[in-house]
């Protein structure tokens, strides 16, 4: 007689009330994963999908074959970008609480991912980001005031109040207009990269997706097209362990890792310590070189942890232990890079504290400047006319009638 079937629903190790437990997360030693040549046969590096590339060790040293790509100045700049992003987040989070905007999403704990990645790209390359990659803009020098204008939907909002806060767009900075619909843009990144190849250009694209969103179908579409046409694209999965209240095990299912998804497509798949600025940058650089040299796509899983709430509408204490973030074994990306720079003798606690203060001043100054243009519920706003405009290159008659009806 056959036993009855049982229904299996994956569960996180602990829930609120329990003690955080990451003992099941294997963390390879920094420097232990080899760096293959960029023309490697993807079949020869399948194991990289199950390891983690790390550069900074516990003592703050940069070790192993992925180390040594960045100068001290570049690292100091990276530190500043991460600190800026964190300060920016804190202010905007507060601005939302003060009713200056409707919504905000922060990057706490994940600052290294996008900031380090951005520096591996070249001008003209294009990112197709999710809502948690503002680091791309910060690291590319996009003005914070403009970001805030967008968040406030004020009169200077470059998107005219049409988009939700943080759904930035900047072609100039290689940052594709963010969509609120998850995963849709992953496959668009592949299309952009295909277009670059079709045009005999040298520019590459990067797609971004969260761990939870890899479950969406467009993730598959992206891999199918990238694999088939060897598109010059970097496919990033930011595994921050959570998708709102849902732990990564629901999206990942029985696969050991998200990087493993690449194996079924013959796409080289690497996992990287997402809280290690140097590692993220080195892996991104490797993938960018591959793409630009016509070797096709690379899948990168950035292993990190969403230390904050999903968004200002979320309270994570309802679904995970409060202290889970402190127990995260890969540490804090800012602290780790700071320690490394201190160890190298180019940074100190004092300079760090000073930089923090300076950065805060800059952010606050930007905020003051932005608020001169208004915030969501006060001051000047994008006009009602702006609501009707810009949908089509030329306004069709029915919309013109509606605009007249609206009296604008």
């Amino acid at each position: 007689m056959t036993d009855a079937l049982r229904f299996h629903v994956p569960e996180p190790e602990v829930r609120p009330g329990g003690a955080p437990d990451f003992s099941n997360v294997p963390i390879p030693k920094a420097g232990s994963v080899p760096r293959p040549p960029i023309d490697v046969d993807p079949r020869d590096i399948r194991d990289l999908a199950f390891s983690i590339i790390r550069v900074l060790n516990r003592s703050g040293e940069a070790v192993g074959p992925w180390a040594g790509l960045l100068t001290d100045d570049e690292l100091l700049e990276g530190l500043r970008h991460m600190m800026t992003l964190r300060a920016f987040d804190a202010r905007m989070q507060m601005a939302q609480r003060q009713g200056k905007t409707s919504f905000y999403m922060q990057h706490l704990g994940e600052e290294a991912v996008a900031t380090a990645f951005r520096k591996a790209l070249q001008p003209g390359d294009m990112n197709f980001p999710t809502y948690r990659q503002a680091g791309l803009l910060i690291a590319d020098g996009y003005p914070m005031v403009t970001m805030m204008n967008q968040i406030y939907s004020n009169e200077a909002d470059p998107l005219k109040g049409r988009q939700l806060p943080i759904m930035y767009s900047s072609k100039e900075h290689g940052f594709f207009s963010i969509s609120g619909n998850l995963a849709t843009q992953y496959v668009q990144a592949v299309g952009w990269a295909m277009a670059s190849a079709i045009s005999g250009d040298t520019k590459i694209a990067a797609g971004w997706i969260g761990d939870g969103s890899t479950a969406e179908s467009d993730f598959h579409s992206a891999l199918v097209f990238a694999s088939t046409y060897k598109a010059p694209v970097i496919l990033n999965v930011v595994n921050n362990q959570w998708a709102i209240s849902t732990f990564q095990g629901i999206a990942r299912g029985g696969a050991g890792t998200f990087a493993a998804r690449g194996l079924g497509f013959g796409i080289p798949a690497l996992r990287v310590d997402g809280n290690d600025y140097l590692a993220v940058h080195a892996v991104a650089k490797w993938a960018a070189e591959r793409a630009r040299a016509n070797f096709g796509p690379t899948l990168i899983e950035h292993v990190t942890y969403r230390a904050g709430a999903h968004s200002t509408s979320d309270d994570p204490s309802a679904y995970r232990p409060k202290a889970e973030s402190d127990a995260w074994p890969l540490g804090d990306p800012i602290v780790r890079l700071k320690n490394h720079l201190v160890l190298r003798g180019v940074w100190s606690d004092e300079r760090h504290a000073q930089a923090e203060a300076e950065i805060l001043d800059t952010v606050i100054a930007a905020q003051r400047e932005a608020e001169k243009h208004g915030t969501l519920h006060s001051g000047n706003k994008p006009s009602v006319r702006d609501m009707f405009e810009g949908l089509y290159a030329e306004m069709p008659p029915h919309l013109r009638r509606q605009r007249q009806q609206a009296g604008v």
Binding site: F7, V9, E11, R15, S102, F103, S153, D157, K160, G161, R162, Q163, L164, P165, M167, S179, G180, N181, L182, A183, G212, S213, A215, E216, S217, D218, A243, I244, S245, T246, I250, A251, G253, S313, A318, Y319, L376, K381, P382, V384, D386, M387, F388, L391, H398, L399, Q402, A406
Partner: protein
Amino acid sequence: MPRKTMIEAIRDAMDVSMGRDEKVVVFGEDVGFFGGVFRCTQGLQAKYGKSRCFDAPINESGIVGTAIGMAAYGLRPCVEIQFADYMYPAYDQLTQEAARIRYRSNGDFTCPIVVRMPTGGGIFGGQTHSQSPEALFTHVSGLKTVVPSNPHDAKGLLIAAIEDPDPVIFLEPKRLYNGPFDGHHERPVTAWSKHELGEVPDGHYTVPLGKAAVRRPGSAVTVLAYGTMVYVAQAAAEETGIDAEVIDLRTLLPLDLDAIVASVKKTGRCVVVHEATMTSGFGAELAALVQEHCFYHLEAPVARVAGWDTPYPHAQEWDYFPGPARVGRALIETMEA
């Protein structure tokens, strides 16, 4: 009788249904442990276990697709799409599969699923948390489409939907979750505890699919509305002093055409209101039907008040929303026509 919010009423409907029929299962994104981002499924996993209420991967097509398979097996899945704006990946499964399985298999297989989704704007959700896609469902033969406007109906309609032998799209106007909202966003929010339709009987009852309700009797003009717009229409009637009859359609398909025709033949005028984009919205179908069935009774063209033909903007939310002023203007124009 106990008063409940619409969220509590919806949760109660699932609770009652799960308690009565073990074939009822509930799943969706963040629906299990956490109980849904709007908390509509809170407590159901604790009460009925992980096999009856669980978290799903973020894949709307998979959520609906697996629900269809479960229904073919014999279960009665009631699934949640986190926002109606995210139903598009599931649109293929809903329209090409769920809607057609009974027909194409001549009843060999059926598809008793309910797909719940919060709909409508008014929470500064921008273009991806505010949509009202009802017309995309009413055009599809084989689906039923329901839009409750209050806790009492929400519970009764949801139980009826779960018990229905065919696929039902259940659109929940999120701006009504916590109170009847009449479009006056500048005024304090009214709670359901202050409203008689917040009275929700305990236990099992149904509100039948396909029956409209008159929310405000009147003789001068008929207003056809559903969801949030029911309250906006009532407010517009009060504010203009026009003796409008406000009909809450409750179910868009099957539609209670008899109730509509009876009212319009009585009033001789009709205004159709909805929050969705105007062009090819469900209001077009209503206007077409009214002029077809009541042509000789109509004293003015059927007017439509709806969301503009643009995406739902963030900052201009209240310019987009067809509030009481716009509906009122349409009432006046229709009376003066």
